[in-house]
Each structure stands twice: as C-alpha cells, then as structure tokens.
C-alpha cells in the first residue's frame, strides 16, 4: 500500500509523458519536440561529454556565489539583528536594494568582471546576499529572551553566549532561509549563464536555440535544471532532520 502511494507521482508523470508523445505525433508542427526526442537530446549531450561539464560548471558557480554570500551575509545579519540601533540605521538601504532583481546587476557584473565565471558568481552572490541577511536578522529577533537570560544566569562570557546559546538558537531558521536562498541561486545561475558566460546549463539552453533551434536540447536542459534543483532542495531538507536542529520545526 505504502509503495503504491509512493509510486503514484511517478505513474502520473508517466501518463503525462505518454500524452505528450501522442500529441506530438498527431501534430508534428514544430512547437515542441516529443519526450523521445528529448531523451535522444540528453543522450547526445552525454555522448559529447557536455552534460557533465555544464552541470559541474553551473554547480561550481552556485556553490561559490552562495557560500560567499553566506559567509558574509549571515554573520552580518546576526550582528545587525542583535544591535537594534544598527538595524534601524541600515533598514532603508536594505529595503531599497532588496527588491532589485539580481538580473538587473548583469551589466554591472560584466563591466566589473568581464564575461566569465566571476561575473556569474557575483550575480549569484548578489541574489543570495539579501535573503540570507534578512533571514539572519529575523532569526536573531526570534530568539526567546529566556534563552539569553539562562545563558547569562549560568555565567557565560559574551563569546560563550554566542557560541552556546545564540548560535544553536538560530540554526534551524538559518537552515530554512538557506534552503530557500539556494533555490533562488539556482534560478539566478541559469539566467546569468545565458548572458555572462559560455558554459553551464543556462548557456546550454540559449546556445541550443541560437545555434540551430535544437529545442530537444532546450527541453533537456530545462529538465536537468529541474532535477538538480530538486536534489539541492532535498539535500538542504535533510539537514532539518538532524536531531539537535529538529526542535525548530513544528512536527505535524
């Protein structure tokens, strides 16, 4: 029974694939390649060694952009959140930068870093920076005063208060924020690669179109992007099950 329930979404996907294939066969207008064509496209990419190369290139940029943003934005956000006055001073600036799409930075990124990895990494960095900083700020606000008081009561030094109380208290929220932000990073990398570099999954899609209307490769690229995005999310989700973090998530 459980197995059947688990198989249900896959069965649904299979049905859709069949409908897709049948529809393409009946109307062979050039609107969309069929699933078999897409599978052949993926096979082509694998054969030329492009698939692995592009996936690695995209993941490389996301990893660096995301990590750089995390290393800077999270400590900064925690500090700003802790000192309410600094938050009041910085808040208008943050509110102005936050709604700017990371894609609006593309010209600047190319101006500063040229066409290449650095420009793409910079765009992901910009896209991740504000969500992570805001997550860290709100995580600090949500620490119950009781935890801090208990820490002070047991005579913790400032450094120990940060390490033994504040840090464990914010981790669950930081994980949620990081998960959402990694999703954003994965959205941004595709767009960045369409313009700022000559490799990666975003480049694959735009190149397949420009170089000969290979829509089978376009769709193949989209499916690979979706699959990797899902895997990244599952990876982050697995952190939420770590026992010492689990308290931060309601268990319904």
């Amino acid at each position: 029974m459980r197995l059947l329930v688990r198989l249900r979404p896959f069965a649904f996907i299979a049905v859709l694939l069949v409908i897709w294939q049948v529809a393409v066969k009946r109307h062979p207008a050039q609107l969309l390649p069929g699933p078999l064509g897409v599978v052949r496209g993926i096979g082509d990419l694998l054969q030329h060694g492009l698939l692995l190369k592009y996936v690695v290139a995209s993941l490389f940029r996301v990893t660096w952009g995301f990590l750089l943003a995390a290393v800077i934005a999270i400590p900064l956000g925690l500090t700003i959140g802790w000192y309410r006055r600094s938050e009041m001073a910085l808040s208008p600036l943050v509110q102005i930068f936050r709604p700017i799409s990371p894609l609006a930075w593309i010209p600047i990124a190319i101006l500063w870093f040229g066409v290449g990895d650095l420009a793409a990494i910079f765009l992901i960095f910009v896209g991740c920076f504000f969500p992570l900083m805001l997550t860290a700020m709100s995580a600090v606000h949500n620490i119950p005063a009781v935890y801090v008081n208990v820490g002070r009561n047991f005579g913790l030094s400032a450094a120990n208060l940060v390490y033994r109380v504040l840090y464990p208290a914010v981790v669950p929220q930081l994980i949620i924020g990081s998960r959402i932000t990694l999703g954003i990073a994965w959205l941004v990398v595709v767009a960045a690669e369409m313009i700022a570099v000559n490799s990666g999954l975003g480049f694959l899609i735009i190149d397949a179109r420009n170089a000969g209307n290979r829509y089978d490769l376009v769709i193949a690229g989209m499916i690979i992007i979706g699959t990797i995005g899902l895997l990244l999310d599952l990876g982050m989700r697995s952190l939420e099950r770590v026992k010492s973090f689990r308290w931060g998530y309601s268990e319904d």
Partner: protein, 261 residues
Amino acid sequence: MSAEAGMSLPVRDVKLRMERVGMAFERDGKSVSVLEDINLDVSDGEFICLVGPSGCGKSTLLNLMGGFLAPTQGSVTIDNQVIRGPDPRRILVFQERGVFPWLTVEGNIGFGLAKLSRAERRERIDHYVQMVRLQGFEHTFPSDLSGGMQQRLQVARALAVNPDILYLDEPFGALDSITRLIMRGELLRIWQSEHRTIIFVTHDVDEAVQLADRVVVLSARPAKIQDVLTIGIPHPRNISSALYLEHRDDLLKRIGLAYTA
C-alpha cells in the same frame, strides 16, 4: 534583635536582604512605579512563596533578586553584598521554554558545568538525573518530554551548578493540576535533601501554603508587601488537616484584601 518568641524556627543567618527596594519603568516618557518600599529578610535555607495579583510585579521582584534588573531605589544584598548582575550562585527557573531544546537531558543538566573535569561532570549529571527521576531519558531531547519532565529538567540543571538560592517563577503554572501536585512533593523532597534557599513565585494559594516557611503577600501595582504569613506546619503537610485549612483560609482572606487594596 532577638529571635521571635515562641517560634520553633531555628535562628539562621540572613541570606538575602531587600531594603526599601523600589522599581520604576519608563513608559511613553512617564515613569511607572511597579514596586515600592519592599523590605524583606530571607534566612539561609528558607522556603519563601511570593503571592499577589497577576501583573503586580512578582516577576520583576524575582528579576531584581536574580540580578537581571537593578532596582531604581534601595538595595538587594546577598550575604551582605550588593547584587551586580546574574550569577550561577543563584539560578532562576522559568515557567516555560526554560530548557534548551537543542540539548538532550544530559546536555541541559551539564550546561553550567563546563569548567568541571569530564569525570566530575559525568558524576554530577548522573546524580541530578536520578534526583529528578529522569533515568532512561539522558539522551532524549526536551521536545520528547512532557511539561512536568521539562520542568524537572530545568530544576536539575539549576541544582547541578550548586547554587545557594533557587528562584522559581511560577514553575508549575503551565502544568495540569495532578502533575502540579506531584511536582510540589518532588520540590519539597529536593529542598529537604539539598538545603537551598528557595524563593517561589506563585498565584496558587494551595501551592503557597503547602510549600512555604513564609508566604509574602504583595498588593496590586505598585506592589508593596501587604502581609507576611508564617506557616508553622512541619513537612510533610497534611493538606486536609484543620491547621492547614486554617492557614489556607487566612491566606485567602489576606490575598482578598490585597487584590482589592
């Protein structure tokens, strides 16, 4: 000063002394007085219950004694020294969320024991796990414990650092009535075996009469000490005895006055 005539309580050193303590908060540019002219001596090893109308400033008083707040008037001294901030020699136990959810039972009890050697820490943890009867739950996280067990854990973590004074801020207020009854018995047992000074905030009259050496009744805000009632019944107290009921009625009457004052 001579010992009070006719009292069977032994003369004990003054542990905590509050002299003309007053506390006012700034609110909307105005000064709001919460506590006024609080004078109280607490003996070493004494069990004091603080009762009073809700919102009267009981928790504020406890925060002053714990060093989390500084009084705007008067002084709070412990062992003749003015309090300067929180200190592990006196631990505050909170009504809710007091235990750290990211630490196991062991981790929580050992929280204040970082300076001890591994072996000493181990010994101390085991001792207090037994004392609050959490054997078998050493590696359990608080989210998997009942409310009563979490409060026992919080008391154990407090006792583990060997404090002189334990402040308890309505520690059983969020528990159901049966668990509360059991917890009172447990707390008395621990108090009798550990000989700490306990200051216990409650709004439960039965709790106060059952536990305290003396019950301090606070008036409505700004709170003053309305009454101090000595409960001269030896432990364990029979909660249906005539003497117990007499004290209970007396306290209810005095609280009634405090609430309307």
